[in-house]
Symmetry: C2
Subunit: 254 residues, 2 copies
Amino acid sequence: MLWHDAAARYAAGGPVPGAAIERTASMHCGTCAARHVGLCDALSADGLAELADAACWCSLPRGCILMAEGEPGAHFINVSHGTVRLSKDMQDGRRQVIGFVSTGAFVGLGAEARYSFTATTLDEVRFCRFDRTGLRELFLRYPVLEQRLLAAACNELALAQGQMLLLGRKPARERLATFLIDWSSNFSNREPTALVVLPMCRGDIADYLGLTIETVSRCLTAMRKQCLIAIDAEHNISIIDRTTLQAIGSGATN
Amino acid sequence: MLWHDAAARYAAGGPVPGAAIERTASMHCGTCAARHVGLCDALSADGLAELADAACWCSLPRGCILMAEGEPGAHFINVSHGTVRLSKDMQDGRRQVIGFVSTGAFVGLGAEARYSFTATTLDEVRFCRFDRTGLRELFLRYPVLEQRLLAAACNELALAQGQMLLLGRKPARERLATFLIDWSSNFSNREPTALVVLPMCRGDIADYLGLTIETVSRCLTAMRKQCLIAIDAEHNISIIDRTTLQAIGSGATN
DNA sequence: CGTCGCTTTGATTAATGTCAATAGAGGTGG
DNA sequence: CCACCTCTATTGACATTAATCAAAGCGACG
């Protein structure tokens, strides 16, 4: 699996095995899964065409770096398929995953000079890439875009605040329960389902929850033994007792 | 000290000892410390007058609740003086402070139906309170306001992500060092000063850093013994060795 | 069939939380 | 002005959680 090779090639602007990059995105709008969410849904056909002309449509395999913390924040991404991991890394290797995003998400929102986190593909990811400077002029003519971005930013802020509560005050068991409930509700499917598909590995879950791989594994095993969940496969978990899991996640049990 | 009395009275809309509330804010704009930051600075005199007419000018003593988590998010606040603590609380008493804000800060940004956190005054706080519905119409006519809010939200998001890294991956010592450096740079004064004035108590620091009061106290004592800081008074800390403190905060030492 | 990467499990250690007591600071009233 | 009271912070002894270190299991893939 030569995925860092792919990541390096993408970062360097060179050809990536398994990747597709096209100069304009418009031809994909008709079939895009993000067509009716977030940014694109706010626009009329004309506006959408303009937006698409400003975008570059891309598809990348697993393990590519879409943007790297500290690099100039030239781009802005709208994910149309797949899952992206956002993380902050320290020099000594410690990593905090600050979020997982999928269809419809904007990445690189902040108008900062440099990216404040690294974005990595967890599976095959298709997305539209915008040039930040080119987009600014479009915003002036379509204020609704700025409204959508503001709404998205506020939503992300609320999620971040919930995660601060989790990281600062919840023990491992509660963190895992919260994670499973959140993931089963917000992602993979519209309404909560028993089956939770986790595109990330245990290490990513650990880095998201501020734990170690071992603790994540032990907690999952404990939950399985208590018949709260079933581990169908490493990345497929079934929620058996949602009510109890929710109670644990909100700290209502001991 | 009857401060929860004051909080209860403010929440109930009744008179608060030490509080001043006026229907319009315009007469205070000339002397407002937030006049040339954030929202208000973006507007011309005409726009500012309109904005001020939509606002209610308030002053509250220490310990009042400006907004409570879970209540309908009817208002939106622009702080012009003092410090406000933002926190999320769990049923069993666990608390996570998600931020401290002061002059120029917007509180209640998210267009959500209900507040996602509780805002409490830490000292005497003066602020402008806006009606969310009344403000929306103003936004349509002054798109620059929405731009400012978006910039503010993105900035807060970046801070929240940094705090996630702190809560998820830094040990107590690094958390305290980061906190002191951040507070000395971002608040109290424009450029970093040796003297750090902390308007919050140890318990608030602990709840902000995901620690206990005892651990905060012990770490501060240890730093004092290592001559990194001096504790002039409980709320006045002098930074003696900023370089080392910064290194500790970023995880560069062991 | 063997190797590599990821996950699980076990034994031990270290960091931080909990419980308890003491020490200061600030305010109040005699 | 001083004694007292209360609230906050500090310090100490001990308990507990989760991290670390180490090894084995499992699956995918060549």
